[in-house]
Symmetry: C2
Subunit: 452 residues, 2 copies
């Protein structure tokens, strides 16, 4: 299987057919295109073309395309669809997907769509799902699941599953509840098939079942499911009653989104932006971190002013040429240290005390610092730098590297202990503070050694 | 459900019981601990304790714990286990997990373990799996799957599935093959249950089935499975014969690993390292990028030397105080631009020509540059900087920001076009080159404006 590659040709052909309103050849072309690929096509078309195209499909395909569209394109398409068309599409979707899209509508439109939905159960389910926070277990779960009462016979259970199964895209487990809807166990479809038909569910179910609370944080759910290799997990309310289930495909999306946000955050880009977002949104995501860099940079102006007298010294003024090197080293080392710690904290591999962690980082940065310092002395020899200046620069740089590593290591650990996401520490925050600190330390140590 | 939290107390209790060789209470404590949590405990114990503990379990539990251990701990444990013990453990595992662990053994030990495995099918499967590259579809797939021949009746199929199902942890789809083992379609377990029992498989199977070639790159498989929301995908050889299947839990691990590597790479840490790795491994991962930073920093020494005469000018020497600011701005902007492009390329959202992309970045960086430049002029007014100097600094900085953004945008796109992973462009590579370029540009433009 090849991933679908959207060609300029195909796009042009589709756009031309839309322009000429030739629906029959258009339908023929898009008939066998997977809905995820169809969404890619619509993402690329202009607004009117996209709306024209999506109106060609029945509500089942429309609904699936809607779930895969880029958020800004979906917003425009939803505006062009009637309340009835949206409601029809929702009736084809799993409740979690429908709730996600519904959440993007205005309050007024939300209510209109819900009241247009003919299936009362679905309307109630959507209202319930909307009441949970987006990134909580409740916000991630779907209401569709297959459950069995412990008092059913296997025959009755099989019949019920056939009925319930029609609404469920994939059956992972059959959840077993008591008469009060309390989750008490599970039943695998495989076990159900290979068991003798006469038994009761209470005789054959597995009483051990993992579940998460409906208010649990989504990231925590992802951790649990990926650690224990679960493909689905039931969700219970505070009374331990079964209220929904989360499947691994939603978790895959969550893991990818979180990873992307962390990646961008480490590069000084805040929030959930993409290359295709508007200039305004991208500026909003980037400017705050650049502002932080500006403040840091202006701060280092003062520090360098404090060492102004060095500039008039015949050979010590060379120190000023090394400021970008020192700033770069302090920044690079700090970002390395913090990235490793942030990653380690996310994977729970940062064990032991802060002190032992810092000792390790001390050793590591001493090794790196000595090697880099030695190379700098060689550079000094090659460029005829006075030897006492070379040694001074190398020693100060060594100190800067050690301190930068210790800051990069301790800041995320301390943030994590205070319950703040340590990911914000990597990137501009560490770079900026290490820049200032590194430059100050460099000149200060040089001053002590050289005695100016 | 709570994630298991490994307490110091529990760890101490277990270590004490191991020391006292009190197996009965020890077994009682660990009886209900999930194997993933058990692995966490063993990761924390010292080598001898871990080996003592793992030998208490039967081969089923041992095998599952082995799959979850940290790689370095697993290496030690495997050394302490006999060839027979490892072979027994492998017989309990899915073939993909067994092959992954087997791949970590020395060539000699590999052969010994394989020849000790009593199940000839498994031995052959493992040999086959080891022949594929680790990150290819073949390296990710398991041999366990449930298949049906198109000529079987539903009754025969159900009987076969019961038999085959015993070896398969989770049944996602039943793959349908012809007499030559060629994959021709699929059958969902649900469909099988709700179909009338008399039909033949060829009457009810779904002829549309996604599959990947056994040599396909793992990242590509992850993209396909996550885009099309697949929980399992069959793997075929060049003759289109069914040879295995990949499940979503392996893909979750792959996605997480890739994201972690990209994150660390952007921070200048190369390769698959963790906070708990040895100082030597961490140095190997960090030093090369620091060396790059050193070369860049030493390069900027020459650039600054070239503008040495500015140092003697009564007011223009202030420019030197701004070098860390300029370097930071060039670095930060470049990293932001490249991170957004790298992320966009990975998600296939970077569309359109390089020129249109650069025009957008031009607009974006002009906005950011003007705002930051304006703030810098305010700073100059507040600190009594001569106004022509403030304006010069702001204008030069604006140019640096624009150029840094354009470099940050074009480098990953060009790398990607040349088939090189654009992720290496974010981080130290862009920071370092933008540092040098930014400082040069800053002084050069200042020189033109101020005419020194």
């Amino acid at each position: 299987m090849e991933t679908f590659q959207l060609s300029e040709e195909l796009l042009k052909k589709i756009a031309d057919l839309i322009l000429a309103k030739k629906n029959t050849p258009l339908k023929k072309i898009v008939k066998d295109v997977h809905f995820a690929d169809m969404a890619e096509i619509i993402n690329e078309l202009n607004e009117d073309q996209g709306i024209y195209l999506i109106k060609l499909f029945d509500s089942e395909k429309t609904s699936e395309i809607l779930t895969e569209l880029n958020e800004d394109v979906r917003e425009k398409i939803l505006k062009a669809l009637s309340v009835k068309e949206i409601a029809d599409a929702f009736e084809e979707l799993d409740s979690d997907d429908a709730a996600d899209i519904l959440g993007e509508l205005s309050e007024k439109r939300k209510e209109e769509v819900i009241s247009e939905i003919s299936d009362n159960n679905l309307a109630d389910d959507l209202k319930e799902l909307l009441s949970y926070k987006e990134d909580s277990a409740g916000g991630l779960m779907a209401k569709e699941l297959v459950l069995a009462n412990e008092n059913w016979s296997i025959t009755k259970c099989l019949k019920e599953i056939k009925k319930q199964g029609e609404n469920v895209t994939r059956v992972h487990s059959i959840y077993v509840v008591d008469d009060k809807q309390k989750l008490i166990g599970r039943l695998s479809l495989k076990d159900l098939i290979i068991s003798p038909a006469k038994k009761l569910i209470k005789d054959i179910y597995i009483p051990k079942v993992d579940s998460v609370n409906v208010y649990e944080d989504g990231e925590e759910v992802a951790k649990i499911m990926s650690k224990y290799d679960l493909e689905a997990i039931p969700v219970v309310n505070n009374k331990k009653q079964l209220v929904g289930r989360i499947t691994i495909d939603d978790i895959v999306d969550l893991i990818k989104e979180e990873a992307e946000e962390d990646y961008l955050l480490a590069a000084g880009v805040q929030g959930d932006v993409e290359a295709d977002d508007s200039i305004f949104e991208l500026t909003k995501a980037r400017l705050p971190w650049l502002f932080l860099g500006l403040v840091g940079g202006l701060g280092s102006v003062f520090i360098l002013e404090g060492f102004e007298e060095v500039m008039t010294h015949p050979s010590y003024k060379t120190l000023f040429f090394f400021t970008p090197l020192i700033a770069a080293m302090a920044g690079n080392v700090g970002v390395q240290s913090s990235a490793i710690i942030v990653q380690g904290l996310a994977n729970d591999v940062v064990k032991g005390s802060l002190v032992s962690r810092l000792l390790k980082e001390l050793g590591l940065s001493l090794i790196n610092g000595f090697i880099l310092g030695f190379l700098t002395i060689l550079f000094g020899l090659a460029t005829n730098l006075p030897i006492e200046l070379s040694i001074t620069i190398s020693l100060s740089m060594l100190c800067v590297i050690v301190v930068a590593a210790l800051i990069g290591t301790s800041v995320p650990i301390l943030l994590d202990k205070k319950g703040i996401d340590p990911a914000i520490a990597t990137g501009p925050f560490i770079t900026t503070s290490n820049d200032i600190f590194g430059i100050f330390l460099f000149f200060y140590i040089a001053k002590i050694i050289l005695g100016f």
